[in-house]
């Protein structure tokens, strides 16, 4: 059996799994690091400003920063209550 497994060694090598996992996790962690750190504060202030004029639920204001090619897009999504 060990001879067979020696001849037909199809096991994936663990080093390549390590490399793949590292590439994914490090790319993710670098993104978090490179991103601006003003987002949480901006989020809070937006909630403050919007709720001054409209009665909204804080959970209904979502902001996110995405990159599309060379552009960075700040996406602010506000769900207004129906009985406005």
């Amino acid at each position: 059996m060990s001879l067979l497994s020696f001849l037909f060694n199809k096991e994936t090598k663990s080093a390549s799994a390590a490399k793949e996992r590292l590439q994914i996790i490090i790319a993710r962690e670098r993104n978090g690091r490179a991103g601006p750190d003003f987002l949480p504060a901006l989020h809070q202030e937006l909630i403050g400003v919007i709720s001054k004029y409209v009665k909204v639920n804080p959970e209904d204001i979502k902001i996110s920063l995405n990159s599309q090619g060379n552009l960075e897009v700040l996406d602010v999504n506000v769900v207004l209550p129906e009985d406005l």
Binding site: K13, A15, S16, A18, L22, I25, I26, R30, R33
Partner: protein
């Protein structure tokens, strides 16, 4: 002006102190006046690795608190006349490492005509590690070919790029070097260990050397001699290459490929 080099890694146990000791010794052996500072307040070990633990009287915190002068605290190395060790305090809290204090000590060392100041960082990313890298001109990132070490190295690179003086002043960034330690070519070729090329591809900083896994590192620490002094060992040669590359020489990588022992070698043994 002295050049300040931090030896750091994020993760513990990868070979920071071993590398600091050998790198500093190598620079001194090449004729450069060098000092190596232990920043691991509370867990000092550089003194043991350098073999000067019984000669410690004053330490870095004493100098920062002006309880001793640098001349009183510096310990002359037993191998090299132009190498000095500044030990960490074993009893104080690491908060005693103030930024102003560290800066003053580094300036004083620079004024004493030291060419190179090697800062042996503690593990982790907290105050002691940040103090060790704050004033660095160059950084040696010690990394094992293993997932947690590579990830932590990336983390510490982020901290260097965010918190070092050079980063905050917006001038020339800290020059980063990758030092891979505990490398086992046989396991790399068997696909069981990340290759140096893999690690370099992930971390994206220039490679300054590869130190093979070796029994001589333990022999060296047992006897209190930096591994670079174990003449004829692969580790000693690999550290000498690192020092030469740091000084601008072109040295090909060694000890990175595994040669299967020949039949005769297998029968008669020997290395």
């Amino acid at each position: 002006m002295a050049k300040i080099i931090v030896v750091t890694s994020g993760k513990g146990g990868v070979g920071k102190t071993t590398s600091s000791a050998s790198f500093a010794s190598g620079l001194a052996m090449r004729g450069h006046k060098t000092v190596v500072i232990d920043f691991d307040v509370g867990l000092r070990n550089l003194d043991l690795i350098m073999g000067c633990e019984r000669r410690v009287v004053y330490d870095l915190i004493n100098v920062i608190n002006k309880e001793a002068t640098l001349n009183q605290a510096l310990i002359k190395d037993k191998h090299c006349d132009n190498l000095f060790v500044l030990p960490a305090s074993q009893t104080r809290d690491k908060d005693a490492l103030t930024e102003e204090g560290v800066e003053r000590v580094l300036n004083e060392l620079s004024a004493m005509d030291f060419e190179y100041i090697i800062c042996d960082s503690p593990a982790g990313i907290e105050h002691g590690a940040v103090m060790a890298l704050t004033f660095a001109d160059e950084a040696i990132i010690v990394t094992n070919p293993e997932v947690s070490s590579v990830r932590d190295s990336d983390r510490i690179l982020g901290i260097i790029q965010a918190k070092s003086r050079r980063a905050l002043n917006g001038g020339e960034p800290v020059k980063e070097h990758l030092l891979i330690t505990r490398y086992v070519p046989k396991r790399v070729e068997a696909g069981e260990m990340l290759s140096y090329a893999d690690v370099q591809e992930i971390l994206r900083i220039p490679l300054i050397g590869i130190i093979p896994e070796s029994e001589s590192v333990l022999h060296a620490s047992n006897s209190g001699n930096p591994a670079i002094h174990i003449e004829g060992s692969e580790v000693s040669e690999a550290y000498k290459d690192v020092v030469a590359r740091f000084l601008g020489e072109d040295r090909p990588l060694r000890y990175t490929s595994y040669e299967k022992p020949g039949l005769l070698q297998r029968i008669f043994g020997g290395k």
